[in-house]
């Protein structure tokens, strides 16, 4: 309950800061992910399968030109969100399954653990976005009037996705029925973000006067607020 009390964590030394601990956890996760490639494979395969299914059944000419900016934004975000939900819970569930949860609790401060896992999830989301978004644009022939704004929407949307799901992942790792629970718990929290991101992508692609910058700001605010609240609440669920 008192994360600032000194001398409680084994590896906590004078020189270790929140950030250095977080980065250590982040790199450790990346290394173990690089060995097994479990999370990244499942997320990417899920995304590619959905993308192929969407692209095959709709193709690049089925939808009217005027409808495209909106409908393509909806499809893109559905693919991104649900493939993210299929794999992001791994970051904490794998600790639980490997039995390393308690060691992690002892070896770093809670906020540092949260930040490390958040960085890891954001890395996963970055990889997902870098592969899926260009593939989607090419396969579907998605014409985007403001690429800069569209890219910013992808980045802030991804940030929000990571920010809104990391705390939920930490909770469901300690609960029963983990797989289905993660989507069920995350989706209501993500709904405002998804609505914003779809609207922002549509506006960036359509290219109306204000483009999608207000939506980019809303998504960024969502990410900042979710990260702040999660940092405050995380010690409560971590110290149990």
């Amino acid at each position: 309950m008192h994360p600032t009390k000194s001398g409680r964590w084994i590896t906590q030394t004078v020189s270790s800061t929140y950030l250095s601990e977080a980065v250590a956890i982040w790199f450790r996760d990346l290394r173990s992910e690089f060995r097994t490639r479990y999370a990244v494979n499942s997320i990417l395969m899920f995304a590619l399968t959905t993308l192929v299914a969407v692209s095959f059944s709709i193709g690049s000419f089925r939808i009217e030109e005027s409808e495209r900016p909106f409908l393509y934004a909806v499809l893109l975000w559905i693919i991104l969100v649900f493939s993210a939900l299929s794999g992001l819970s791994r970051s904490f569930v794998k600790e639980q399954e490997a039995g390393t949860m308690d060691i992690l609790k002892l070896s770093a401060r809670p906020q540092a653990v949260f930040l490390g896992k958040l960085f890891f999830n954001l890395t996963m989301l970055g990889a997902l976005g870098l592969i899926i978004v260009p593939a989607f644009i090419l396969l579907m022939g998605y014409k985007i009037k403001f690429p800069g704004c569209f890219a910013a929407m992808m980045v802030t949307g991804g940030l929000g996705l990571g920010a809104g799901t990391t705390l939920v992942a930490a909770m469901i790792a300690q609960a029963d029925a983990r797989g289905a629970l993660f989507s069920a718990l995350s989706f209501p929290l993500l709904l405002p973000l998804i609505i914003t991101a779809i609207k922002g992508s549509e506006r960036a692609a359509y290219g109306i006067s204000a483009a999608g910058w207000p939506e980019v700001k809303i998504a960024a605010a969502y990410a900042v607020i979710m990260i702040t609240v999660s940092l405050l609440l995380f010690p409560l669920i971590w110290e149990e």
Partner: protein, 220 residues
């Protein structure tokens, strides 16, 4: 005991009066506007209950008193019930005035969002076996979910315009006549009283259940 009987009589009077005494509001087809006396109080009670649940969750996380969690859980369950009733009555009103039961009006979107959040809240509660952990998780989740609600309030009106009646059925506006206003406020009070009664029953039930479970466990 006496206030429960008074509440029963009061509610009977309200029901009889809003159908037989109050005239329907102008600007709405037929008798549709009478749903005001049932729809708005349920929505108000749902809001009150969810807010109370959030506050009780905070209190639980700070003090770790079990009673606060009982209050949070009971309040969330009753809020869910009243939220569902508000959705159904609102949907009936939508069919009668706008022509379809469901058309993703911002009000409908936000109420579905609330139902989903608290649906997930109950799923989380049922999925954590450890009592202490379950209470903490539920509290954390309800605070986290509460932080996303302001976004919905800002975001959704940007997408579509609302058809939800605001002015004609707003108590503060001159659109509502005196008779309607009196029975509207009376109905609000009756529903709030009903909520308090049900809430106390639910809290007592949870307390008994908890006690039974503890007694059962201590037998081993």
């Amino acid at each position: 005991m006496i206030y429960k009987i008074l509440l029963t009589i009061w509610m009977n009077l309200i029901i009889a009066a809003v159908f037989l005494y109050v005239e329907p509001a102008a600007g709405f087809p037929g008798e549709v506007s009478r749903i005001l006396f049932f729809h708005v109080p349920t929505a108000w009670v749902a809001t009150l209950a969810f807010f109370l649940s959030m506050i009780a969750s905070c209190v639980y996380l700070i003090t770790r008193k079990v009673n606060a969690d009982f209050l949070a859980q009971s309040s969330a369950e009753l809020g869910f019930l009243f939220c569902f009733l508000a959705t159904v009555t609102g949907s009936i009103f939508a069919k009668a005035t706008w022509g379809s039961f469901w058309n993703w009006d911002p009000r409908q979107t936000s109420i579905v969002m609330l139902l989903m959040i608290y649906g997930a809240y109950f799923v989380l509660r049922s999925a954590v076996p450890d009592h202490e952990k379950r209470r903490v998780f539920a509290g954390v989740y309800s605070i986290l979910a509460f932080c996303t609600v302001p976004f919905l309030v800002f975001v959704v009106p940007r997408i579509t315009n609302s058809l939800h009646p605001e002015d004609t059925l707003n108590p503060a506006s001159p659109g509502m006549d005196m008779k309607t206003l009196i029975f509207f406020l009376g109905s609000l009070c009756a529903y709030t009283g009903l909520f308090v009664w049900m809430l106390r029953l639910k809290v007592r039930m949870l307390r008994l259940l908890d006690r039974e479970q503890r007694a059962f466990r201590s037998n081993f």
